[in-house]
């Protein structure tokens, strides 16, 4: 494929050098027959601006700037840095340097995973995007709180009951502070995503009411959407005379939206959601082993279905939300099932080398590291290259792991961390069976993958396109 080069030129005054550098680069590229686009950031403003798609598809970017040139746009891309003067003097040389750069995104496996994650968040739209905004704001609290609680359990399961002890302090940090903020933050940031800043106050308050009213994370989600759309409604519909307009964001919207959200939460939707939540909690607490296995199978398969996509995140959000209700088994099942896809692929590349290209075998090692860290997205490049064989294999392995974890009654108090939280005493209940569940799932995944995947030699033609997929 033709290598497309992009360039940005900018200088402090932006009257002349910016344009001379641009012309020099364009001229040099023309002489070499290289496809180029040059953005100029001069006193006229930004002209010929590079689009996101162009940046993504570019082989490398020449940044000929003596001042800010919006560099953060090029994170993860190969960039040739130069001064404006160097571009005017030696544009041809800069082009050669740019062509010689390795297109990092194609080489670096972890980079690819990051890229896939980024593309996904860019694709998120509508309610799902709002929900994910809330979930991603909540997760750090869950992680910090969960680990603090797990550390407290290190001193013994009831150590926190002794006042003034470190265990009690850790429990206060994790349990009564971080976890108490979970639902309000979830709700607040869902609303923030919908209505911007005016949504935050009603969202936080609605979430707090959900939390104290017993409707838990389901109530928090409902409160977030309610608060967001109520605030957005007031923001769009209320028209005030110009001199009162300033009151709108600081007085009118917060008060009205908070009151409407709060009253609806208390008198209308709080109670039904609370009974759903209580029903769910009771069902989960009283699961017989058949139902437990069933739930584990479903959650596990969901984790592997789209590896970090909406289905995976739904299962994950469900499990983390239940931590707030002291239900730890789904969390354990979900984390285990999220670890086995990359781990299983890693194992598969080890036991059947001839089923994988050299690039895939190298990528397998990285996938192993991502797997033990519970980064399910580590499996994406493999799945993208051969989805119809790889994804079902991963789902089977994860479903088995999830079911085993539930069957063994494993519980997990920290919502993330992979194998590293297993080392914290008391963070995991039934540790050994839990580790066994992960191990079995990994092996099942690997066996499924190697038996479904064709050997590389027998499909020389499709293989080259496969490795391209991995690299693209």
């Amino acid at each position: 494929m033709e290598k497309k080069i992009l360039a940005v030129t900018a200088c402090p005054t932006g009257i002349a050098h910016t344009y001379m550098a641009a012309e020099a680069i364009e001229k040099a590229a023309g002489e070499k027959g290289v496809d180029i686009k040059v953005e100029t950031r001069g006193s006229v403003g930004v002209e010929n601006e590079l689009t996101e798609t162009e940046i993504r598809d570019a082989h490398a970017i020449i940044l000929a700037a003596d001042t800010d040139a919006g560099e953060s746009r090029f994170a993860g891309k190969a960039v040739v840095y130069a001064s404006v003067g160097e571009a005017i003097k030696g544009a041809a040389d800069l082009i050669d340097q740019a062509l010689a750069k390795k297109a990092t995104s194609a080489e670096d496996y972890v980079e690819q995973v990051q890229q896939a994650k980024k593309e996904r968040s860019a694709q998120r739209k509508g309610p799902y995007k709002h929900l994910m905004n809330g979930v991603s704001a909540m997760i750090p609290l869950v992680v910090a709180g969960g680990i603090a609680i797990a550390l407290s359990f290190m001193f013994g399961i009831n150590a926190a009951e002794e006042e003034g002890s470190l265990a009690a302090a850790l429990m206060q940090i994790g349990g009564s502070s971080a976890f108490a903020l979970m639902v309000p933050i979830l709700s607040g940031f869902i609303a923030y995503s919908i209505a911007d800043k005016p949504g935050l106050a009603p969202g936080l308050v609605g979430g707090m009411l959900a939390s104290s009213g017993g409707s838990g994370f389901l109530g928090g989600i409902a409160a977030g959407f309610l608060a967001g759309y109520v605030a957005k409604f007031f923001k769009d519909k209320i028209q005030l005379p110009k001199n009162l307009e300033g009151l709108k964001p600081i007085l009118i919207i917060p008060v009205l939206a908070t009151l409407v959200t709060g009253l609806l939460m208390i008198y209308v939707i709080g109670t039904p959601i609370e009974s759903i939540m209580t029903g769910l909690e009771n069902w989960l607490k009283g699961l017989n082993s058949g139902n437990a296995i069933f739930l584990g199978l479903i959650l596990g398969a969901m984790m592997a279905f789209d590896m970090g996509g909406p289905v995976n995140k739904a299962a994950y959000a469900f499990a983390t939300g239940l931590l707030a209700s002291d239900l730890y088994a789904p969390m354990a099942a979900v984390m285990a099932a999220g670890m086995t896809p990359p781990l299983g692929l890693w194992l598969a590349t080890l036991i059947r080398k001839n089923k994988f290209t050299k690039e895939e075998r190298d990528a397998g090692k990285a996938a192993g590291v991502l797997g033990i860290s519970f980064i399910t997205e580590g499996a994406i490049p493999f799945a993208a290259a051969d989805p119809f064989r790889v994804i079902p294999s991963l789902m089977v392995g994860s479903a088995v792991t999830g079911a085993l974890s539930m069957l063994f009654g494993a519980g997990l108090k920290a919502p993330h961390g992979g194998v590293f939280v297993l080392a914290i005493p008391n963070a995991v209940t039934n540790l050994l069976p839990y580790a066994l569940a992960i191990l079995v799932g990994t092996i099942v995944t690997a066996i499924m993958v190697v038996s479904l995947k064709k050997t590389v030699e027998s499909k020389v033609n499709t293989n080259s396109s496969n490795s391209n997929d991995v690299a693209s």
Binding site: A16, T18, Y19, M20, K27, V44, D66, G85, I88, K89
Partner: protein, 148 residues
């Protein structure tokens, strides 16, 4: 606005003698002062020299394009000088300067048409045939014609 609105005939100094970069800027500034483009020559020159301190405007190929944005400028303007002896401009490529474009931009300027014209000029300077015309022009009219 056309390039000739900026580069008035009075602003073109062909084959002048200038011993230094500053002397050259002085002569071009007075030319623009006479046509009313610059009303406070000192303030404008300070801006130009400050820009020179930040980095040379000697872009190589014997061309320099000093420029300044200042409240001492009444309207956008451009002046050109061809000097008969080499002037040291600490150019990017080390060559002495023979052609100087001095650009004047008012501090507060509505519209940016003049900036676009200057950016076009800057782009033209990167082409050798254009620079040859600057050297070979024998009259002011011929030189302005090359810029059109």
């Amino acid at each position: 606005m056309a390039l000739t609105d900026l580069l008035k005939t009075e602003h073109v100094l062909l084959d002048i003698e200038a011993v230094s970069k500053e002397a050259c800027i002085d002569q071009l500034t007075s030319a623009m002062e006479q046509t009313g483009v610059v009303h406070d020559a000192d303030a404008y020159k300070r801006a130009v020299l400050k820009r020179e301190e930040e980095g040379t405007t000697g872009i190589g190929f014997g061309v320099a394009i000093p420029h300044g944005k200042s409240s001492g400028v009444s309207q956008p303007g451009l002046a050109f000088a061809r000097v008969t002896s080499d002037v040291d401009w600490e150019s990017l490529d080390g060559t002495p300067v023979r052609h100087v474009f001095l650009i004047a931009v008012p501090e507060e300027q509505a519209g940016n048409e003049h900036l676009q014209i200057l950016s076009q000029l800057s782009r033209k300077l990167m082409h050798e045939d254009f620079r040859e015309k600057l050297q070979s022009a024998t009259t002011i009219e011929e030189l302005i014609g090359a810029l059109e």
